[in-house]
């Protein structure tokens, strides 16, 4: 909502307070003023001139040579290219020395050999937006009314020196979508009264109801509809002051009738519509829901197909307007219109919103109906508009109105105590202070002891409960005056849940291991949604995606991380390691929310260690990545519960991929991205993992229990085992651990040999076995006994031979 500072003074006294101060006060008490603009800022030297001569430029077809009286001693010669410039016009002249928007300075010039002492201006050249310029002057200079005074400041006359406050209104404050509404707000802030416009009724003896009848078939959508008739109007331009006020509010002037309806819309907040009586098509107005597939050509000359969701004004036969949204082209007020039906009505917000949305038509009118207009102003707004039409377009207002009025308008009555207000705000307001606030708002105030009974005027439809009154009290008392305290009450333990704690541990571990945390999008393409998915389940599609790229909920994080790798690789960052913790989504029943699981995923590529000046480097490989997740499992206390199993997974390297099992259940995978996929993505060799964080965090973990630090020495025996190429080191380790019994405390692999000195199809793995007993020093026999068992077991179960 744009509010002219000058115009506002018609309704509330602003003496002693300038526009900037006013803006600050309005902002502080509840409506954000997003800006105060004075269009003439920085401009100067534009006056009203009178074109006393115009002739064709001798050397240019499209230029005019004008002699213009600018109120100076002598007329000046100005060369003007506007097609509509003519003798007798009053125009805006930027004189020599003038400054126009964009710091454009006017100098004396010679155009095709003729001197030009200034410029005759269009409204656009003076800083008006094109969309606000009346179509009459859209492509030429602006012409003032004939009575404009030569030599006067044109900027002033065009309202450009006015200051305009731009209000950013929250949806509840539709009451401030009118000048009168803003006046009430300002009145409450300043403690000043609101002056309503005076309506001087001058009606003919003839009755409006003899000319037209009104029937409402959809009373819930339209509880009150009034139609006034104005006869014998003369359509023409509206007065300049009205045009400039409309433009200051962001509305383009058309003609006096349309301008007046818009003026009232701005003044009262009540949208009006004028129909051409003679082109209306009948003598009855019927308001009803549209029929399915019914059609109307609206003012913008677009044919629109209606549905029963839309409310229409009809002439009993066909729609002539979409209620509250836009009128029809057939009954539009045109230059030759003489008789007018003036509609002032209350249309329900929901039905207007539906139509405005379905047809993509959002107008000043629809915006107001959608948010709710003040039903108490419907009749008065119609009266005032009719009077202005008679005043500025000639014509006679017929008596009364044809109308249907079934409006039951009950103002809200709310009781509240001062104590309630103070408790909710933490303030210490007195009864008198609170009373003064409600009175300044011009609410009905009754006070019984410390209890107020407040009657809320219908213009403030947003106030229905106690809390709303508390807010009114708070904002007019001033938030700056509210004290600063902290809640006192029963103490509550502040802490993370076990799960949240583990998630943080996981983050710390992965960061400590050298991975950066990434955050990517949950929405992705259909193809990527299920790529690398841990569980082959159906993905979920949005009903109305913005793009295919973001149309599905992800089942896995890895594809997004690979995008990040691709992005970085493309920017010469070849080495990177990332992880992400985030939700993936699995479809359930249509009616049910999907299953959301938190996963942790990682992507690692390029050099892992590099200490180049010492000539050391190591690239990421499977075991580097595996080491990272092992560290994660260790932090979470799960190392004993985790196993790896060679696996074939789509888009993964067939020989370098493992499933990760937690107590036998697959909870993730790790491995190299399939080289073909790497090539398609244009990324280097990349290792990834994705694990169910949920499964990891929810697994039971043994509590930490101290174990005695050994006092006796341990003994280590190394063995090199020759096994089949396909035998898994992990399996042998399991066999060793099982066979080694209590004395075997640690098994580690220290060598792997698969070279040419081995028999075909065999490999050698060397294990180091550490034996000890916390109670005593082990004898050679003890160890040999245990060790023999190990050797037997590996031979028997894995066909392993000791390497000679």
């Amino acid at each position: 909502m744009f509010v002219s500072y000058k115009w506002l003074q018609d309704y509330v006294d602003l003496s002693g307070i300038n526009a900037t101060e006013l803006a600050d006060k309005i902002t502080k008490s509840g409506i954000e003023v997003e800006g105060v603009e004075k269009k003439s800022e920085g401009l100067k030297g534009v006056v009203i001139g009178h074109v006393i001569e115009r002739e064709q430029h001798p050397n240019a077809d499209k230029l005019n040579k004008c002699q213009v009286d600018i109120g100076a001693e002598n007329p000046v010669q100005i060369i003007c290219g506007a097609p509509n410039v003519d003798k007798g016009q009053k125009v805006a002249v930027a004189t020599v020395g003038a400054v126009l928007p964009g710091n454009f300075k006017i100098k004396k010039a010679k155009l095709r050999g003729e001197e030009s002492h200034g410029m005759i201006c269009s409204l656009q050249e003076l800083g008006f937006e094109s969309k606000l310029v009346s179509k009459d002057y859209a492509t030429g200079i602006f012409v003032f009314p004939n009575d404009a005074e030569v030599g006067k400041d044109a900027l002033e006359e065009l309202g450009l020196s006015d200051e305009v406050l731009e209000l950013g209104l929250t949806p509840n404050r539709s009451d401030a979508l009118s000048m009168i509404g803003v006046a009430y707000e300002v009145g409450a802030i300043l403690g000043r009264d609101v002056k309503w416009p005076a309506i001087e009724k001058a009606e003919a003896a003839e009755k409006a109801s003899d000319y037209i009848s009104v029937k409402v078939e959809a009373k819930e959508d339209n509880p009150i509809y009034t139609a006034k008739i104005i006869k014998d109007v003369k359509v023409g331009p509206s007065p300049l002051w009205m045009q400039t006020r409309l433009m200051s509010a962001g509305i383009r002037p058309h003609n006096n009738v349309v301008d007046i309806t818009n003026y009232i819309l701005l003044e009262y907040g009540q949208p009006l519509h004028a129909f051409d009586y003679d082109r209306f098509g009948s003598k009855e107005i019927v308001i009803r829901r549209a029929k399915d597939a019914e059609k109307i050509v609206t003012l913008d000359e677009t044919e629109r197909t209606l549905t029963p969701d839309h409310l229409v004004i009809t002439n009993g036969i066909e729609p002539v307007a979409i209620a509250g949204v836009m009128g029809g082209a057939d009954s539009e007020v045109k230059n030759d219109t003489t008789n007018i039906i003036l509609e002032s009505a209350y249309f329900a917000g929901t039905v207007v919103r539906k139509a405005s949305k379905d047809h993509g038509l959002r107008s000043e009118a629809s915006a107001r109906f959608e948010k709710g207009v003040d039903p108490a102003r419907v009749r008065e707004a119609g009266e005032r508009a009719a009077q202005l039409i008679a005043q500025y377009a000639g014509g006679t207002v017929l008596q009364g109105a044809a109308e249907v009025d079934e409006l039951t308008m009950e103002p809200a009555v709310i009781s509240i105590t001062v104590e309630k207000i103070n408790t909710l705000l933490g303030t210490d307001m007195t009864v008198t202070e609170v009373e003064s606030i409600f009175k300044r708002l011009q609410f009905g105030v009754e006070l019984d002891n410390e209890t107020f009974t407040i009657t809320v005027p219908t213009r403030r439809g947003d106030i229905t409960i106690e809390a709303d009154l508390v807010e009114e009290a708070a904002r007019l008392y001033g938030y700056d005056n509210i004290p600063t305290t902290l809640p006192i009450g029963s103490a509550t333990p502040g802490q993370l849940t076990d799960y949240q704690m583990k998630r943080r541990k996981a983050r710390r571990t992965l960061e400590g291991a050298g991975l950066y945390q990434a955050v990517t999008y949950s929405l992705t393409s259909e193809e990527k949604a299920s790529q690398f998915a841990l569980e082959a389940r159906e993905s979920i599609r949005l009903a109305m995606p913005i793009s295919e790229e973001r149309s599905q909920l992800r089942l896995s994080i890895v594809p997004q991380l690979l995008e990040v790798v691709k992005y970085n690789n493309a920017r010469q960052i070849d080495s990177l390691a990332l992880y992400e913790i985030g939700s993936v989504f699995f479809k359930r029943d249509e009616q049910e929310l999907p299953e959301e699981k938190e996963h942790v995923a990682g992507a690692m590529t390029g050099l892992w260690e590099s200490h180049l000046w010492q000539g050391e480097k190591k690239s990421v490989d499977f075991f580097v990545a595996k080491g990272v997740i092992e560290a994660l499992f260790d932090t979470l206390g799960l190392n004993d519960q985790i196993n790896y199993r060679q696996a074939q997974i789509n888009d993964m390297h067939p020989g370098r991929t493992a499933e990760v099992l937690l107590n036998g259940e697959v909870i993730g995978f790790i491995g190299q991205v399939h080289p073909t996929v790497q090539k398609d993505l244009d990324i280097k060799e990349t290792y990834i993992f994705e694990l169910s964080l949920k499964a990891l965090a929810e697994a039971e973990v043994a509590p930490i229990a101290y174990q005695t630090i050994p006092r006796y020495p341990s003994t280590t025996r190394d063995i090199a085992l020759v096994v089949d190429q396909a035998t898994k080191a992990g399996d042998i380790q399991d066999i060793i651990e099982e066979a080694g019994g209590k004395l075997l405390k640690e098994v580690s692999i220290f060598d792997l040999y698969e070279g040419e000195r081995m028999e075909e199809g065999k490999k050698s793995i060397a294990y180091s076995l550490k034996y000890f007993d916390p109670e005593r020093t082990l004898t050679d026999e003890d160890i040999t006994k245990a060790h023999e068992k190990v050797l037997e077991a590996v031979k028997e179960k894995a066909g392993a031979e000791l390497r000679g």
Binding site: K28, G426, T427, P487, T492, Q495, Y516, L523, R571, L578
Partner: protein
């Protein structure tokens, strides 16, 4: 005679010790003078010829001479050894200004960093961290928050719906509704709710279809607007600096009444007005208010007994203000050169 001979030997030996420049040479001196075949031993062998009176004197002198030589040798040996070590160490000198072996080190994403900082602040004030699903029912996302189906703020165009009743949550407020319901009308409730949210926006420098919010909710008896103001003051000073001030401006949200917009004083200009704060001296950071009685009642709380406050903010906005990030898309591009910048602890 023997006495002179011993002193002579001592003089001779000490000279050789002093002259020795290598451990080997020194050892030769030791063997030559102190060895079993050395001259001192030889002198002592002739002691039999001496009188009983002279014998102990010469014996003592001989011992003194031996000790003097031995101690000089030891002294010299240490000196030579030290010199040898020093000489060896001198050859081992390295350039200490060369870089150390890098330790791999990642760090949190800036958004998580902000979230954890805020979580920890509120945990310290007795809050717990509540979380909820990112795909929500229309009921929890809107209806339970006083946004009935006909509400103008609920435009299909603005939200990612999956079915008519299920959508990507548009804010983290449904977590508040869910938590309140779990409390079954029993206060106190003190939670902070971080999480991802989704809006049907095209991505540009200031909009992101996915972003993160963090909201707080306190419900107890006698919770007031002044408590909200105090709590947010603590927040602003912790997150943006001790010299920041806050300002509350009336606003509107369907789930709070009264509702406020909260500004912090501009860090750049200190409140005088600059381009960052659009000449106002204040920067809008979050929305808040007193929980709407409808919201309390819908969640089973007696709005006569309990009151509460809620606040919510965009994590990206906080991070952008805190670190001066100028384009929201940076948070989701994950350029490592961007991520790496958020690596150290700030005061």
């Amino acid at each position: 005679m023997m006495q002179e001979r011993l002193l002579e030997l001592q003089e001779e030996a000490l000279q050789k010790v002093t002259a020795a420049s290598e451990l080997k040479e020194l050892n030769e001196v030791r063997v030559a003078y102190l060895g079993k075949k050395g001259p001192i031993t030889e002198v002592l062998r002739g002691m039999g010829k001496l009188s009983a009176e002279e014998r102990p004197k010469i014996g003592a002198l001989a011992n003194d001479v031996r000790e003097a030589i031995a101690s000089k040798i030891e002294e010299k040996q240490k000196a030579l050894e030290t010199a040898a070590v020093n000489a060896k160490l001198a050859t081992e000198t390295i350039d200490v200004t060369l870089p150390g072996r890098p330790v791999n080190k990642g760090n949190l994403h800036p958004l998580t960093r902000v979230v954890e900082e805020i979580e920890d602040l509120f945990i310290g004030m007795g809050y717990t961290v509540a979380e909820g699903p990112e795909v929500e029912s229309d009921y929890y996302n809107f209806e339970a928050l006083n946004l009935p189906k006909s509400h103008p703020a609920r435009d299909m165009q603005d939200s990612f719906y999956i079915t008519d009743e299920i959508l990507m949550r548009t804010h983290t407020s449904p977590v508040q509704a869910r938590t309140m319901k779990k409390h079954k009308g029993q206060g106190p409730v003190k939670i902070i709710c971080p999480g991802k949210v989704y809006r049907r926006d095209n991505d540009d420098a200031t909009h992101s279809h996915q972003f993160q919010q963090i909201e707080g909710l306190v419900i107890d008896e006698n919770i007031s607007m002044s408590d909200l103001k105090g709590t947010l003051d603590v927040f602003a000073k912790k997150v943006f600096g001790q010299d920041r001030e806050i300002r509350l401006r009336p606003s509107f949200f369907p789930f709070t009444e009264p509702s406020v917009e909260v500004d912090i004083s501009c860090k750049i200009c200190g409140g005088k007005g600059c381009s960052v704060c659009k000449q106002t001296g204040w920067i809008e950071v979050l929305g808040a208010g007193i929980v709407h009685p409808n919201v309390l009642e819908m969640a089973g709380f007696d709005s006569k007994k309990y009151s509460g406050f809620a606040f919510g903010m965009g994590v990206e906005r906080i991070a952008m203000l805190k670190y001066g990030v100028d384009d929201i898309r940076h948070f989701y591009t994950n350029d490592v050169r961007f991520l790496k910048q958020f690596n150290h602890h700030e005061a």
